[in-house]
């Protein structure tokens, strides 16, 4: 017996999601404290980038950059930075 399958062509008939920024909203609004990097103290060790649970830190030649749209202010980066280059400051509304 041959089973033939008719594929549904139109994408809107399939329950498919597509990668897009901010699928859960701008989660940075949850933040109570804002991490500030002092790039003069930063040694580009990448530890903050690796440990940040929000995956919002990018380390490059200039230092560590935080995407505040999605940083939730958990403070893990402050704790893992071996150079104490990141400080938490109260968020101004």
């Amino acid at each position: 017996m041959v089973i033939t399958m008719k594929l549904v062509k139109t994408e809107d008939k399939l329950p498919i999601s597509y990668p897009s920024e901010g699928a859960a909203g701008k989660t940075g609004t949850w933040r109570l404290e804002r991490p500030i990097v002092n790039n003069e103290m930063c040694t580009r060790c990448y530890l903050c980038e690796i440990y940040c649970p929000g995956n919002v830190i990018t380390v490059d030649k200039e230092g560590a950059h935080i995407d505040y749209n999605y940083c939730k202010g958990c403070g893990i980066c402050v704790k893992v930075c071996p150079k104490n280059a990141i400080k938490m400051e109260p968020e101004e509304e």
């Binding site: 498919i16 999601s17 901010g22 859960a24 690796i50 440990y51 649970p53 958990c74 893990i76 704790k79």
Partner: protein, 266 residues
């Protein structure tokens, strides 16, 4: 994870905290294909998906289950055991935050003894933690490993190792939950590291029938340099009601686990 699998991974996620993180249709925050499935079925769906990919000749794809401890140790146990027994060609990652966190911190069988949850409110859980990795070793699958979010390199290496093996692979990732374990968010990595340093969580790999203790834990076991368990439990509010008896139970649990692993280690 998407970088480790180099665009070849497909995620299967049962109901768990991650289902929330991924976001609602028609958007997703993941940079890889992902299938949301009912609680109990993750391992079964993943096995089927893998077979279907093989039929289509897509040998190099990796089907990866990403499930919580509730969806693994309790609700998903039957299909997990079935997939392991059949040696289904999938990777199963259990991220273990030791309770049903996003539904309101109810105990799971992976909750350790003495821990407060909303369903063990007075004395904490009275039963010890179910050791799922050990259950997987008993299935004699090609690869079993424990990992911790405090040791990301170790986890990444284990993921890489597992990607090169075919057959059923299981990784249990210890992931503290600030809300459910009652500690400040910023201490998440420190709490995870303390679990390893006190021996409440031991990092190892099981390959070809032998256990190899991973570097962070190996030194601690060889030199018997574990920190006292008190240091681990005093930084978490969930262990506030632990008394002497429960503490003794936790020490016994830890020592028996070390003894067991030592026996199987090369």
């Amino acid at each position: 994870m998407s970088s480790a699998t180099d665009g070849k991974g497909i995620l299967v996620v049962p109901a768990c905290c991650t289902s929330v993180v991924v976001g609602t249709a028609p958007k997703t925050s993941m940079r890889m294909p992902i299938v949301h499935v009912p609680f109990a079925s993750a391992a079964a769906v993943a096995s089927g998906l893998r077979e279907a990919l093989l039929v289509r000749g897509l040998e190099d794809k990796q089907v990866i289950v990403w499930a919580g401890d509730g969806g693994t140790a309790d609700i998903g146990m039957a299909s997990l055991s079935g997939a392991a027994e059949k040696n289904a060609d999938i990777i199963y990652i259990m991220y273990d935050n030791e309770a049903y966190m996003n539904t309101g911190i109810q105990r799971s069988s992976s909750t350790p003894r003495g821990a407060w949850t909303t369903t063990t409110p007075i004395m904490g859980k009275t039963e010890p933690k179910k050791d799922v990795s050990r259950i997987m070793i008993s299935h004699d699958v090609p690869y079993v490993a424990t990992a911790s979010i405090a040791y990301p390199h170790d986890f990444y290496n284990k993921l890489q190792t597992s990607l090169k093996i075919r057959g059923f692979r299981f990784i249990q990732l210890h992931s503290p939950c600030p809300v459910g374990w009652r500690f400040d968010d910023s201490l998440t990595v420190d709490v995870a590291r303390m679990a390893v340093e006190t021996g409440m969580w031991i990092l190892y790999e099981y390959k070809n029938g032998v256990i190899e203790i991973s570097n962070p834990s190996r030194y601690l076991i060889q030199q018997n340099k574990f920190k006292p368990i008190e240091e681990y439990i005093k930084i978490q509010g969930r262990f506030a009601s632990v008394d002497e008896n429960t503490l003794k139970g936790l020490y016994e649990y830890r020592n028996r686990n070390i003894e067991f692993l030592n026996k199987l280690a090369k």
